[in-house]
């Protein structure tokens, strides 16, 4: 779950790496950057269009995508050639992504670390939030928990290292930052990210088979600060479609 800002890496030909005998990782660059991620997404779109027999599912990450396959249907060597060709020249445009505006409340215990986050950036809490809500962040990947979207990239001026000692319990809905990333926790869990607010948005809904996760890789997100009263009014009464402001 490391999201460190990697050293710039020269663009290399993508590498196809075995992840056991039923998955392979297509590695573009060890880097968190919009252009690298665009290549990852373009590759995933091309993979979807290619309908390779034996390929079961895939998941984009920051600078790579992992592909799960049935080794009884396609051998790794054969698959690696197909994946390498797709990765070099995807030939499919990256699909359009939605823009979301998601409410969050940064008051009181919801934002337990906000003052410290602001202080580490040499800002008042108010100024930190003002800069934060002006950002349009991109969903780089989902991982850690169902629906846990890694949003980036935060500018240096708003970035903070994760907590040295993770909290044993972070409440569901918590909005948090660490390194150059921001995320909201769909489920309660331990975690080392710093809490700057809480959202009433349904981040993951298993009953919505068609679109269980609010956010998908490539979507863009703007955070909208709301009062606790508004948070409480929305909590449990809002749906995924309430926050999509642009397809």
């Amino acid at each position: 779950m490391s999201d460190r800002r990697a050293e710039p890496e020269k663009p290399l030909a993508p590498r196809i790496l075995a992840l056991g005998d039923a998955a392979a990782t297509v590695h573009f660059a060890a880097q968190i950057a919009p252009d690298v991620h665009a290549r990852v997404r373009a590759f995933c779109a091309a993979l979807a269009a290619a309908r390779i027999v034996g390929v079961e599912e895939w998941a984009p990450a920051f600078g790579s995508a992992t592909v799960w396959y049935d080794p009884d249907q396609i051998a790794f060597a054969e698959l690696a050639l197909l994946l390498a060709a797709l990765a070099r020249a995807p030939g499919v445009e990256t699909p359009d992504s939605a823009l979301f505006e998601i409410p969050f409340c940064a008051e009181g215990d919801f934002a337990a670390d906000l003052d410290e986050v602001a202080r580490l950036n040499g800002l008042t809490a108010q100024d930190w939030l003002k800069n934060f809500v002006e950002l349009t962040l991109e969903v780089y990947m989902l991982g850690f928990q169902p629906g846990f979207a890694y949003l980036g990239v935060l500018p240096e001026a708003l970035s903070v290292p994760r907590l040295a000692t993770p909290r044993p319990k972070i409440p569901a809905g918590s909005v948090a930052v660490a390194d150059s990333m921001c995320a909201a926790y769909p489920y309660q869990s331990p975690g080392g990210w710093r809490l700057i607010g809480r959202t009433p948005a349904p981040l993951f809904d298993v009953t919505n088979e068609g679109r269980p996760a609010l956010l998908s890789p490539g979507d863009r997100v703007r955070w909208r600060a709301v009062s606790r009263a508004e948070f409480l009014a929305l909590e449990g009464r809002c749906g995924a479609d309430d926050f999509r402001i642009e397809e």
Partner: protein, 340 residues
């Protein structure tokens, strides 16, 4: 036709599992499913349940249950022994590799031996599919029975028993070192570390669960590239090595991505063997290529098909013979790896 089973005592770490929740890993949803899908398939096979049916995984201690409505056929796979008590007080001893019909009012009490075990049910457990699977995913609290371990008082529905009692020989996994394929981040380790990894005898640490096994052994040093990576895809079997140099082998409930360098990944044919490792057990690893992995998969499938073909109706003579010759003689694989 259906049957209902009431959980009288829940055991410990008993969850509903099938063969995993596929196609949602891009959304961060763990695969889940039986840690040992071969034994779940065996338990299902002893009940005539359809392919892919959900059963109970018994991780730490076995449950006690009663057929509260109708008759259900139960299949036992793994190291289980127990007793069926009829309403009239009649008792019948029972152990694994049997499919038995529980008639209404019968109580089944079980004891788990080594490793983990499975109960299969005629028709499979009838629970709603969540995102295409009945598997319990504890950390997010969905699937199975309300996303949690069984509790006393839970009622489970399954199909009605259609056949009679059956038995089969014990299904024993292959022994020997756990086979893995190198990478994806083997370049984060020096040749000495790679050698140390395959030469060492690793001990399973205490805080191991359905997410992963923590291993204790010699410290595996990283190269200058270090133990952290920009997070990429993870899968059951992946062997992560964090900065402390102690490997973590991921299991069914693992996260879909991870930020630690992965030295290798256990081949699919050996994932069921990882299921039976408990804290204190010792294991070692051996590197294989994709061709050997494919051979191992084929062999595992042939072994299962061969086993399945030997499921037979229970006869009193056969039964006695089975217990004295097969089960007692062939149940463990020796001290070397601590798996079955």
């Amino acid at each position: 036709m259906s049957a209902r089973l009431k959980i009288l005592r829940p055991g410990v770490g008993v969850t509903v599992q099938d063969f995993g929740r596929r196609n949602f890993r891009a959304l961060g949803v763990a695969l889940s499913g039986a840690l040992d899908p071969v034994l779940l398939a065996a338990a299902n096979g002893l009940t005539g349940a359809p392919k892919g049916a959900a059963g109970l995984e018994i991780l730490l201690a076995a449950p006690e249950l009663r057929a509260s409505e109708g008759a259900a056929q139960i299949g036992l796979a793994g190291d289980l022994v127990g007793m069926i008590e009829r309403p009239d007080g009649e008792r019948q001893q029972i152990s694994s590799w049997r499919g038995v019909v529980l008639r209404e009012g019968d109580t089944l009490t079980l004891k788990l031996g080594r490793g983990l075990a499975y109960l299969g049910f005629s028709g499979g457990l009838d629970l709603p599919e969540i995102l295409g699977s009945r598997s319990t995913f504890l950390r997010a609290g969905f699937g199975g029975v309300e996303g949690r371990c069984l509790r006393a008082g839970d009622a489970l529905a399954c199909g009605a028993a259609e056949g009679g009692d059956v038995f089969a020989p014990p299904l024993i996994h292959e022994a020997g070192p756990i086979r893995f394929i190198l990478g994806p981040q083997d370049d984060h380790f020096s040749p000495e570390s790679l050698q140390k990894f395959v030469q060492a005898r690793w001990r399973v640490g205490p805080d191991s669960d359905r997410m992963g096994l923590r291993l204790i052994g010699p410290r595996l040093a990283h190269t200058m590239k270090g133990g952290n990576i920009v997070s990429d895809g993870a899968t059951p079997g992946a062997i992560q090595v964090p900065g402390d140099g102690q490997p973590i082998v991921l299991r069914a409930d693992c996260q879909t991505s991870g930020g630690y360098a992965k030295i290798g990944c256990v081949i699919s044919a050996d994932l069921p063997r990882l299921a039976h490792l408990a804290p204190g057990d010792v294991l070692s690893f051996i590197e294989v290529d994709h061709e050997k992995a494919a051979t191992a998969r084929r062999r595992a499938r042939e072994m299962f098909d061969g086993w399945r073909a030997r499921i037979s109706p229970t006869g009193w003579l056969d039964e006695r013979k089975l217990w004295t010759e097969n089960l007692i003689g062939g149940a463990t694989s020796g001290e070397n790896e601590g798996f079955r």
